[in-house]
Structures are given as C-alpha cells and as structure tokens.
C-alpha cells in the first residue's frame, strides 16, 4: 500500500478560510466555557405532598374569602387567599446544600400552611431565564413567589413590579437597595454566620496546625460574614488560628472545589470548610486527606465519619410558613416581610430561628462541646432586657487585617445593618486570601 502524502498541496483559499474560521471558533469555545454555568435551564415542577387545599384550614378560609367578603387587611394587598406558592432554586433539590435545605423547607411549608408548592430547580440567575419561570408559576395560580438565590433578586423585582397582586420574597438581598420599594416585595435572610462562629470554635479547638481552609464562591456580604465569623470563633479558643480563604468564582464547580481543597491542604490546613452550594467534594477531600471538615447548609456528617466536626444547617420551614400565612391573611404589606427582614439568635423574642448547628463529630471533645453550647446560649442571653441578645459576633471595635477600624467601638450592628459593613469586602486579622 502506498502512503499518500497527507500534508502536500493545499489551496491558499482553504488555508485563509481556516484561519478566519478557526480563531472565532476557539474564542467561541472559550466563551462557552466561561459562561457554561448559565447554560442550564432544566426545570421541574412537582407538587407538594399533602397540599390538598380543602383539608387545610387556612386555605379553606382564604378560598372562602375570594367568593364572599375580602379577608382582613388591605383588599389590594398581594397574595390574599394564597392557595399556590411558587419557589425557584438556582440548583438541585438534592445538592446536600443550600438548595436542598430551601426545597425541603418549602415542602414542609406547603404542608404546614396548606398550600400547593410549585417548584423550579436549576433556574439561572438571569432575568431572561428566571422571569419566564416565575411568570409561568403565576399563570398556574401562584400568588406568593419565593426567589431563593442571591442572584434571583433582579428577576424577582421585575416580577413584583409586573404583578402587584403577587407577593414576591427574595432570600438574601435587600429591598432597600432599590430606589422605589414595592408593597408586594420583601427580602429575608438570617444570620447564618452565628452557627458558623460556633463551628469556628470547634475548628480552632481541634486544629493542630492552626491553619483552617475556607472554600467560598464570591466575596459578597454573606460569604465575608461567614469567613470572618469562622475566624473569630476559632480565634476565641486559639488566638493564633488563621483562616485561608480561596474563592472558586462559582457556587458549584466540584472539580474547581477539588483543586481549591488541594491548594488549602498544601498550605497546611487541617480543617476544611466552605461556602458553596454543593458541598460533597470539599468534605470528601478533607476526609480522604485525613483532616477535619466543617459542613455548611446541610448535615453531611455521613460523608466524613472520621473528620466531621459540626456545621451550620438551614431550618427555613417556620419562616417560610409564617410568610405565607401572613400573605394569606392579607397582612403582607404591614408585616416586616415587606422590607428587609433579618433575624438571628440575638432576636431573643423571635418565634423561630432559621438555622441550627449540625451534630458533632467524634473529634469534638466533650469539653469543646460544652464551650460551644455555652457560646450558643450566650447569643440568647439578654441581661439588659432590650430584646437583643448581649453577645454579638461583630462588635466594635473591630478592625480589618490591615488595621483599619471597620466597626467602631461601641457599635454592634443589627442583622439588617450588618451587610452594609461588608459591602466593601474585608477580612479580620488572621484571615489570609485575596479580596476584591
């Protein structure tokens, strides 16, 4: 068999065509790679179990309100007589994390409030993607919408503006950031940094290197509060403890998490924790490396029987239920939910909390557990009786790692004000890692 020459002659024109065609193709590939996160548009809708509205007292009463007299409250209020609630999630309901916690709470809310829950998972954080999903929920009859991811805020605002009769609540951002607040819009969040602080105590107690690793997504107030609280908790028992924080610039890119975990292990971290939506990779990387792990969002202790310390878990059910019941009663406008609702352990009179510390792993000594329990109780202690717990994670004077005072002496920002202190990113002393 003769070997044909495969690289011999070729026409100028085909070469030129290639040159002009391949470079944009390569650029397109890179663009698609960089933007790949937004490409997913898989949504599912499932009905909450036990959402039979006729057996639920609230819904029955509200449905009656439609046909007879207007229920209590402003008759133009949003969400009056809710029977269906739409909830959108940025990720999967099975992510062992943020979205699973929100999903499970939403289903429990459906049972507790006697409403049907329409779910949509994997909704991208863009107006083009999220608005149609919520519009679809409204066309199915939803009159309360929960937009549960940080980046769902702008789509939620647009939906609220377009549908004054639908209550729209957003998890994480601030309505006060808008020029014109809306009567049917609100935001809520909770001080998850408080259980993160408690987990920091566990991490600082068990660490032998004094170096703790933190994998996070983006430098936004929520993540910065958690990282700083974790460091302050660790430093409360080990003043020399340092936290190395690395960002993946993604809420869930497991392979990048694996690389970030390796970077932190190489730096000598012997406790790994994270602020990511999907949490398995970092916990398994820690377990495989024989170091400790602290969970986030969800109880993942089963993944790390040796190294699991503790974690912070969401418990949104009571809040979601209260928001829906408030809307059913036509009282959304005058409620704290029509605004920036923030609450935490220090609201000693609050009827519920939105998160809880996870179970302790075997490495956390009884002594440390006692210390953590004491710190937990301190949040709720209110000696001066003003309704606000006396202990705060972020109390002035508190300086950033460069020595600039960020929270003045005597200042102890409340939950609503706190995010404002982190609108420009900063880390406390002992936190290493890039900012900005």
């Amino acid at each position: 068999m003769t070997t044909p020459s495969l690289t011999s002659t070729r026409s100028r024109s085909s070469r030129a065509r290639l040159r002009t065609a391949l470079v944009p193709l390569a650029a397109l590939s890179l663009f698609a790679a960089a933007c790949g996160d937004d490409a997913e548009e898989e949504t599912t809708a499932t009905e909450a179990a036990g959402s039979d509205a006729t057996t639920a007292p609230d819904a029955t009463e509200a449905a009656g309100g439609d046909t007879t007299a207007a229920p209590a409250g402003d008759s133009t209020a949003c969400g009056v007589g809710v029977t269906k609630v739409g909830v959108i999630y940025v990720g999967s309901k099975d992510d062992f994390g943020y979205n699973q916690a929100a999903y499970e709470a939403a289903q429990a809310m459906g049972e507790a409030a006697g409403v049907e829950v329409i779910n949509a998972e994997n909704v991208p954080e863009t107006v083009e993607d999220a608005v149609p999903v919520m519009e679809d929920m409204i066309s199915q009859g939803a009159t309360v919408i929960f937009a549960t991811s940080y980046g769902h805020f702008q789509p939620a605002v647009e939906i609220a503006a377009a549908h004054p009769d639908v209550c729209v609540v957003h998890q994480g951002q601030f309505e006060s950031s808008l020029e014109a607040p809306l009567d049917n819009l609100g935001t809520y969040f909770s001080s998850v940094f408080e259980p993160v602080y408690l987990a920091g105590i566990a991490a600082g107690s068990v660490s032998e290197t004094g170096t703790l690793g933190y994998v996070y997504a983006f430098p936004i107030p929520q993540t910065l509060e958690n990282i700083n609280a974790f460091a302050l908790g660790a430093q409360s028992v080990n003043p020399d403890a340092t936290v190395i924080a690395v960002a993946t610039a993604n809420w869930c890119d497991p392979a990048k998490q694996a690389q970030a975990a390796q970077t932190l292990l190489d730096q000598g971290a012997d406790v790994l924790t994270q602020h990511q939506d999907c949490t398995k990779t970092v916990i398994e990387a820690a377990e495989a490396a024989g170091v400790y792990s602290v969970g986030y969002h969800y109880d993942a202790s089963s993944l790390a029987p040796e190294g699991w310390l503790t974690g912070s878990e969401w418990a949104w059910t009571d809040l979601y239920t209260d928001i829906v019941e408030t809307a059913v009663a036509g009282e959304f406008v005058s409620s704290p939910y029509n605004g920036d609702y923030r609450f935490g352990y220090r609201d000693v009179a609050a009827p519920f909390v939105a998160f809880k510390p996870s179970v302790f792993g075997p490495a956390v000594s009884a002594e440390t557990q006692t210390a953590i329990t004491a710190a937990y109780d301190a949040f709720f202690a209110d000696a001066d009786g003003d309704g606000v717990g006396d202990f705060s994670v972020f109390t002035g004077p508190l300086a950033d790692r460069d020595g600039t005072v960020r929270i003045e002496d005597g200042v102890s920002p409340d939950y609503t004000a706190l995010d404002g202190f982190f609108s420009e990113p900063w880390f406390v002393a002992g936190v290493e890692g890039s900012l900005g």
């Binding site: 068999m1 044909p4 495969l6 070729r10 085909s14 070469r15 065509r17 290639l18 040159r19 065609a21 391949l22 470079v23 193709l25 390569a26 650029a27 590939s29 890179l30 698609a32 790679a33 960089a34 933007c35 790949g36 490409a39 997913e40 548009e41 898989e42 599912t44 990720g91 999967s92 309901k93 099975d94 992510d95 062992f96 699973q100 994997n122 983006f218 690395v246 960002a247 993946t248 610039a249 993604n250 869930c252 497991p254 392979a255 990048k256 694996a258 690389q259 970030a260 390796q262 970077t263 730096q267 398995k280 990779t281 398994e284 990387a285 495989a288 290493e432 890039s434 900012l435 900005g436």
Partner: protein
C-alpha cells in the same frame, strides 16, 4: 508553589487530556465535535451512576466511555448521515448532554460513589517534586499519561490512523483506494466521544467524587480549543491541558497567598492564558489543520 502548581496541573488537567486527545482524533478525520462537553457530562454521570449501582469505579469508567461515545455517535449521525452543520449540531449535542444529565442525574446528586483512590507508586512517589507531581495519582490519571502517546501512534503509525488522517485531509484519496471515508469518520468521532466520556468519568469518580449538574463546567470546550493550540497533535494536547489546569492551580495559590488582586481577575487567568496562547499560535498553527475541516465552514459541506 511550583510543586503545588505542577501537581494541580496534572490533577485538574487529566479530564481535559482525555477529552482533548479524543477531539484531536475526531478532528483528524474531518469532524469537529463541539458536543465534547456533552460527552464529558454523559461520561461523568454514567460512570458515577454505574459506579454506585455496581460498586466498581472501573465498570463505571467503562460505562462512561460508552455513554460519551453514544452521544458522539448521535453527532456523527446528524453531520455525516444527515449532513447537518457541524458547529450548530455540536452545540446542540452539548446542550442535550447538559439537559439529559441534569434530568437523569437528579437521583445521584445526593449519593456517594466508591471512588478511584490515589495509588502512590512505591519508590517513585518519594522522589522530590516529581514524586507528587507524577506518581501519586488515581489510576485514570496514570492511564492519561499513556493516552496521548498511544493516540499519536494510532494516528501516525497505524493503518487505521492513516485512514483517519486521509479522511480528514483528502477523502478522495480513500475513495481512489476503494475505501469509503464515512465509516472511518464515524469511528473517529466515536473514539473521540469515548475518550471525552472517560475524561468525565475521571472528574466524577476520581477527582471531584461527586455528581452535580453541569459539573464539567466548560472543560469540554477548553478541550476543543486546545486541539487548535496543539495543532492537531495529541502530544501537545497534554501540554495545553496542563497549562490550563496549572493556571487554575496557580490562581488558587495566588489567592491562598493573599495576593492583592481581585478574585474575578484571578479567576480569569486560565482562560486568558489559553486565549493568549491561541492568539499567538493560531497564525502559525492553522496550516496544520486537517484540510477537510475547512469544509466544516462551507455551506457545501
């Protein structure tokens, strides 16, 4: 720092090596497959699911190869049999892969797989620097060390490889020898998809040890871009994949050291590196492109 970056380059680059070598073989036959990302996702999910159901990551990896190849065969069917546009079809195949794996992967997100674990090679892994960079990895990574030389031999020294290259350069040469070039292209595309699937399997069952939607996160597209960088030479794919992944490790190292640069700029480093290299190389390298690839951009293809 150097050790960490080099180790990170190998660890993170393995999946891209498989996918990039696979795409090189497909493109050598004259078919561009932008569905590589989708094949990687199918491989990642299938390997994870089969790994869970059977308890064997090896069976998972084999199933991952099959899944990646099957999706690539769909691409082959559309472009070779139906004459569809390769670029548009490839992108559609990727989105199909994203959607299908998101749907069928839901049940596996919360499950754990028995993963491939690192095998430190006795003796060799104790060598300073080289030991951790090269000889302390999961089995699929060791396999990836051999895949590029094997692919090079296959393409440039085997009879089948010669047919693949002929199909990519001048199908008429094959015709004159009484060989139909289309089965050759089907084969090359299937091999490419199978290797992409293996890359995906490495991500889910060896490296990240999890399944989550869209977890390939653009690595398949990086692999396609690297084929041009590598001038359709499988050996250079390895360099490109490690360059990209090393840049990721480097960026994370800079962060951990508190470099005073925005994390958004740092996160862009790997992409900027690949783009810069492509811009520098493209002028010189496109002459190495299989000639039939040009017809991808002709309406008459």
């Amino acid at each position: 720092m150097i050790e960490a970056v080099l180790t990170g380059a190998v660890r993170g680059g393995t999946s891209i090596v498989f996918a990039g070598v696979g795409e090189t073989i497909a493109e050598r036959s004259g078919v561009t497959n932008l569905g590589t990302e989708g094949s990687m996702l199918c491989g990642a999910l299938t390997a994870y699911a089969v790994g869970i159901e059977t308890g064997s990551p090896w069976l998972g990896a084999i199933a991952g190869i099959a899944a990646g190849a099957i999706l690539a065969l769909l691409h082959a069917a559309l472009v070779l049999w139906r004459g569809a546009n390769q670029v548009a079809t490839g992108l559609a195949i990727t989105f199909l892969g994203i959607g299908a794996t998101s749907l069928f992967g839901q049940d596996y997100v919360s499950q754990g797989v028995e993963p491939f674990t690192p095998w430190a090679i006795p003796g060799l892994s104790d060598i300073p620097l080289l030991g951790s960079v090269l000889f302390d990895h999961d089995p699929l990574t060791y396999l990836s060390f051999t895949i590029a030389p094997l692919a090079w031999w296959f393409l440039f020294r085997s009879a089948t490889g010669l047919k693949i290259r002929a199909a990519g350069e001048r199908p008429i040469v094959l015709s004159s020898m009484g060989i139909d070039h289309r089965p050759v292209r089907w084969l090359a595309v299937a091999i490419g998809g199978g290797l992409a699937g293996l890359g995906g399997a490495q991500l889910s069952t060896a490296f990240a040890r999890t399944w989550s939607e869209n977890m390939v996160a653009g690595r398949g597209f990086i692999a396609v871009a690297l084929v041009i960088f590598a001038a359709w030479n499988p050996l250079l794919i390895v360099l490109g994949a490690y360059l990209f992944s090393g840049a990721v490790a480097f960026e994370l190292e800079l962060q951990a050291r508190g470099t005073d640069v925005s994390i958004f700029l740092l996160d862009a480093i790997p992409y900027v590196v690949v783009l810069a290299v492509l811009a520098l190389m493209s002028r010189r390298r496109t002459h190495a492109a299989p000639e039939s690839l040009a017809s991808v951009f002709d309406a008459a293809a």
